[in-house]
């Protein structure tokens, strides 16, 4: 299936189908033991996502615990400096725990509670999703186990300690490449073993159905707010949206409520690492091919034999060899465009925003900023660009200092 046989993805967008397929992508590729539990999860999610009581509890948590709505901020000095489009930042960095991740963990934790599960597990790479999961588990008094690659535990010591302070058990994963993908494998193994009492909170729009759709729906609050805010401020929709893409949850959260608005361009920015042509990157949509990993069919970084290979990005949150299946579909259908920003470009954007706006972005979000710095100058001064500032940069201060040879 390809774009030409399907037309564009927009107009009446209703992905995924009942089996979790986004065109040829998505689906449910897991061992038999998990098929029953995934179906149970789908049924529970479908029941509660339209349940007024569930929705009002979720909305109250988003308002009072997460701090929503997050502001839509006009970056005037930075826009001026780039000399083109007016640039707005959706301030997900101002959420509780410092990133968009909490929108999803709050939602899934409420679902876990409804389903009578007492134990929460999660995977984490940079630690942001792990912290957001440990946070909601602490609040609901649930047992929490977070799987994290041994390499990442070394790189993200502060977040490991934050999770432990919140009462989570952080398990070091020593298998494979000892990073995020291996943490996900290990969380799946835990789930299949303890499936009766355990709820697995996946942190991105990947994994087997219903996770990609469910996580998207919880993150779509970003795009819904943005849409209302920009209409209120400017009286019209933006010309373009930009978001970084690792697994792709912050990007789909921003894009989804705009998919049927054909006049709104959408750009997903992958981790370009040392450059696409060096092969050392984390950009499966730019330079990968379709395959099956972690329960879904999507674009992957793999070798000719179908073995998943190592990725490279300065940003731990983008350092993942797969991507959410809906992004694979939006790429093929042409509705969204996927590009990459290198480590160096992201670092330059990190400094630029920090110095001109007094906002220190996460290195993940800095990739979206880097592409905006490339796109904005070519746009008219009355055009509008919205960037999802998905997280704050406090967690990255140590990485930035190390890269620049400074001992903090």
């Amino acid at each position: 299936m390809n774009a030409s046989s399907q037309g564009t993805a927009s107009v009446h967008y209703s992905m995924p189908d009942e089996n979790g397929h986004f065109g040829p992508y998505g689906g449910r590729f897991v061992a038999e033991t998990l098929m029953g539990p995934l179906e149970e999860l789908r049924l529970a999610y479908e029941k509660y996502c339209t349940d007024p009581e569930f929705i009002s509890e979720l909305d109250a948590d988003l308002a009072n615990f997460v701090g929503r709505p997050s502001p839509l901020y006009l970056a005037e000095r930075w826009s001026e400096r780039l000399g083109g489009a007016r640039i707005y930042l959706k301030r997900e960095d101002l959420n509780h725990t410092g990133a968009h991740k909490i929108n999803n963990t709050v939602g899934q934790a409420l679902l876990a509670k409804r389903m009578g599960k007492r134990r929460i597990i999660a995977e984490t790479g940079a630690g942001q999703h792990g912290v957001a999961t440990a946070t909601v588990a602490a609040r609901l008094g649930m047992e929490c186990v977070v799987y994290m690659g041994a390499e990442d535990i070394q790189r993200q010591a502060i977040n490991v300690y934050r999770m432990r302070l919140l009462g989570a058990d952080v398990v070091s994963v020593e298998s494979g490449s000892r990073t995020l993908k291996d943490a996900l494998n290990e969380a799946m193994r835990d789930w299949v073993t303890n499936v009766d009492e355990t709820f697995y909170i996946i942190g991105t729009v990947a994994g087997p159905h219903p996770y990609p759709a469910m996580v998207r729906d919880f993150q779509a609050v970003i795009g819904r707010e943005t849409r209302a805010q920009i209409l209120d401020r400017e009286g019209r929709l933006p010309d373009a949206l930009i978001a970084c893409v690792g697994g792709g949850s912050n990007a789909i959260g921003l894009f989804y409520p705009f998919i049927e608005d054909e006049g709104v361009a959408m750009y997903g920015v992958e981790g370009g690492g040392e450059g696409i042509d060096t092969g050392r990157h984390a950009a499966p949509l730019c330079d990968g091919r379709p395959g099956v990993l972690h329960g879904n069919r999507t674009y992957l970084i793999e070798d000719d034999n179908g073995q998943i290979t190592e990725t490279h990005s300065v940003s731990a949150g983008l350092d993942y060899p797969g991507v959410g299946p809906e992004h694979a579909w939006l790429k093929d259908s042409g509705r969204a465009r996927y590009v990459a920003a290198t480590d160096d470009e992201a670092m330059r954007a990190f400094h630029a925003l920090t110095r001109t706006e007094g906002i220190m972005p996460a290195l993940e979000s800095s990739h979206a900023l880097a592409y905006a710095a490339h796109l904005a100058p070519a746009m008219d001064r009355d055009s509008i660009l919205i960037i999802n500032l998905s997280g704050r940069g406090d967690k990255d201060v140590h990485t930035v200092a190390t890269l620049e040879g400074i001992k903090v």
Binding site: A31, E32, M35, K181, M188, G291, G306
Partner: protein, 277 residues
């Protein structure tokens, strides 16, 4: 009739249960695998399950994960695994061979080309752990064209409806996962397995194999009392790390374990038929 069905028919007619050892191809090094397969048959294996190494073996416990990693140090690919089967077939045209692994290496090769090559190499069945029936239609069709059996897993969480659906799609035999968990777990509950098999029996005419959690001769024997086949993986593979520096000893040592299980399994038959053990 496929080599797998023929094998089960022979076993049934002699009142024996199948013993199916699993080893990961290329573990700990590629030249060990073919001699090892021959040694396992010599020791009493009825079918062979050959693991295709994968970088992300999500359904496997630590023992088989480590086996995959040892094989991948040598970049053992699905192509090479088929070369090993072809080599094995030169001296053994009889014993059925089932490939067990994950979908992505097959996706990367392409279903049709893989199926043709597998059939050509002498493979009899394919078990793809992360391919449930909902997603298996196309591969099933392609394997069938090459007369390859598609083996499916059933688990304690399957339920009647899925059991029916999977039985209708499977051929060769059905593989019942004895527990909720990954390969190599040690919490086999024989009463629960018996109940699980009792639920499946009325829905299928296919032989039922049981795996995940059979760790010694005793548990192999107890499973053989209620199933048609006993699959043993981690219990064998776990012996390899200690023998890594003396790879020549691997076939013999693993064959010893298989012989022991063979004797335990055949013991039931002797008891039942009143023969001397």
């Amino acid at each position: 009739m496929s080599r797998i069905s023929g094998c089960f028919q022979n076993l049934r007619s002699t009142g024996r249960k199948a013993l199916i050892p699993y080893v990961t191809a290329g573990d700990p090094q590629p030249d060990v695998t073919v001699p090892l397969l021959h040694a396992l048959v010599e020791a009493g294996a009825d079918l062979l399950e050959i693991g295709v190494p994968f970088s992300d073996p999500m359904a496997d416990g630590p023992v088989i994960q480590a086996a995959c990693e040892r094989a991948l140090v040598h970049d053992v690919s699905l192509h090479q695994v088929l070369d090993m089967v072809r080599e094995f077939r030169k001296d053994n045209p009889v014993t059925p061979v089932v490939l067990m692994g994950y979908l992505n290496p097959i996706e990367a090769w392409g279903y049709k080309d893989f199926a043709r090559a597998a059939s050509d190499a002498g493979v009899d069945g394919v078990l793809t752990v992360d391919l449930p029936p909902e997603e298996a239609g196309l591969l099933k069709e392609v394997l069938q064209e090459q007369d390859l059996d598609m083996i499916f897993l059933l688990s304690p969480t399957s339920g009647k409806e899925r059991i029916r659906r999977i039985s209708a799609m499977a051929s060769g035999f059905l593989y019942y996962v004895s527990l909720k968990g990954v390969t190599g777990a040690k919490k086999l509950d024989i009463t629960a397995v018996a109940a699980g098999l009792a639920e499946i029996r009325p829905e299928t005419g296919l032989p039922l194999g049981v795996g995940f959690g059979i760790h010694d001769a005793e548990s192999a024997m107890r499973v053989a009392e209620i199933a048609d086949a006993v699959v043993v993986g981690s219990a064998l593979v776990s012996r390899i790390p200690a023998l890594q520096d003396t790879p020549d000893l691997i076939p013999g040592k693993l064959a010893d374990t298989v012989s022991e299980m063979r004797r335990a399994i055949d013991g039931i038959r002797s008891k039942r038929t009143g023969m001397q053990a």
